[in-house]
Symmetry: C2
Subunit: 333 residues, 2 copies
Amino acid sequence: VTIRSVAKLAGVSPSTVSHYLNQTAPLAAKTSRNVQQAISVLNYRVNLSARGLRLQRTHSIGLIIPNLSTPFFAELAAMVEDALWQKRYQTLLCISERDVEREYSQFANLRSRQVDGILVVYGSEHSKVIKAARESRIPVVFIDRPVPGEFSLASENYYGGQLAARHLADLGHIHFGLLCGEPEIRNVAERVAGFLAELQSRKIKVPAENILRGLQELPFGLRVAELLDRSPRPTAIFATNDIVAIGAWSKLLEHGLRIPADISLMGFDDIQMSRYLIPPLTTVVQRGQELVQRAVELLLSLIASRDHSPDRLPSSIMVNPTLMVRGSTGRPK
Amino acid sequence: VTIRSVAKLAGVSPSTVSHYLNQTAPLAAKTSRNVQQAISVLNYRVNLSARGLRLQRTHSIGLIIPNLSTPFFAELAAMVEDALWQKRYQTLLCISERDVEREYSQFANLRSRQVDGILVVYGSEHSKVIKAARESRIPVVFIDRPVPGEFSLASENYYGGQLAARHLADLGHIHFGLLCGEPEIRNVAERVAGFLAELQSRKIKVPAENILRGLQELPFGLRVAELLDRSPRPTAIFATNDIVAIGAWSKLLEHGLRIPADISLMGFDDIQMSRYLIPPLTTVVQRGQELVQRAVELLLSLIASRDHSPDRLPSSIMVNPTLMVRGSTGRPK
DNA sequence: TTGAAAGCGCTAACAC
DNA sequence: GTGTTAGCGCTTTCAA
């Protein structure tokens, strides 16, 4: 059932139906009614594939994201879908698994599908998508990391690391343990750098053996046990994301330690779950909602202005994280 | 850059380029080379929007899912994206938030976009999507609940509830507490029914006051504290999903109870996180990977056979859950 | 082995 | 106010 069949039934031309659909010309009341009738009789629905071809606009956006098993990413994805749905855009989901090749071919595929724009939470510093974005004329906005020369939004991770250190040091902690995700991930590296820099400015050193490295996933947090053997034993643990902190939390409880009486624990991200642990997790809040909101607005405005205005200059927007003090941190004994 | 420009540069006709692209006719080696060259010079990529219009096949699938904040759903969504990507299909993501109207308009929108098929994890027993699916000719497969008269895959939740009860009763438990999600969600109701039926067959009664009801989300699990006041105090707790069990787990630890020495705890789903708690959670495994794998295969085969074969008869495939005994359950004191 | 031509369903000048 | 027509980029007979 096409626009033609509707036109035929209503006794008008296809273009009249189109005008009715898009309110692109005033119709006689009677004509309007006839068309409306025909549409509902036939249960007609516009073919967006055809419209997309004609308009060179599909009203769809590609989202490339490393995974959904990291709660922070799942939350981002959901916020993106919601923001786009509000604007009547369809989300095309691509999970890259941080695989550079996969990510790249997903990008190419999205372009082939004529999406109006692409949102990318990229997976690796060696992403080929940046170059691809630069070479194509399609609007792309990067989320979660600053990308020089491209439109991007990211959290100021270094500052977030500083916030964490400041909070713990202000409480009086001197002996620290760190659970660091992959140092190749720049966000992680910056959180750690900010954390250590803040401590250094207070003349506090963290011994190298107190800095553990592993994947940014829950099981890595279990390795916190290793830090308990150090002497002096750390009185505060900083994990580079919440999910690792949750792993640590679980292990610490198992060891019979009380949080925060015996040991303080901090994370980074503020995923939903962090609020509900007992004690709830003190963390550095990445303002995901703001990141997504602004990214979507930016992307849609780039799309809107694409044909009309001259090229806007790319810029990286940095969103400052904030400190959320909950129950998992306190003064050292 | 279109197929025309490629044709022009290569000195052939558009149809020849098309034949090259789709290997739908043998080309002279030399022609092939020319076309190949022109394609790479112009960096041509086929416009899938146009191809979709022409072929009446977009190689895209819609996925409607209640949310991504429930880890089980996030895992399902990721598995769907992956399975479809393997088959070179694009996933169009729609999050319904269990909102009947939203879900319905997402379904309609997906149809307008000419997706080849739709996968729906539906949000409510009053979903309008079932009716819509029945009235449209588009292949639809429901996941997570059986839908009479439609293609669907679901876990045998009643049996899963029985498995849980059997395990706990076999360990010698007599006094139980239940944390039940929304009873309007049929899956939940069936898990509970199976659980209670199995106990009843063993002449074990669960007092009504030991059955708490709430949302299937983590904070509800915290209410497990209420069950600790009952006398006799329950020695085993069954939650209708893992995330609620995790909430309970956290609260129980806070109360200084040892799991499973003082109290046993079971969940349902087997989300990734359950493996990493300490102690790891004994749970009923919903085989999400199998659900998704079979759903995708079914959907694609429906799509493939749509024009050729006669209509296949819809059927509900029930996947039996399995028991995963981990550390959170043991004999009562 | 290649090309001409029609058409997928829609929109938008432009004419009436 | 409404209709005619061309064309978005592609595939696919059918003919050469």
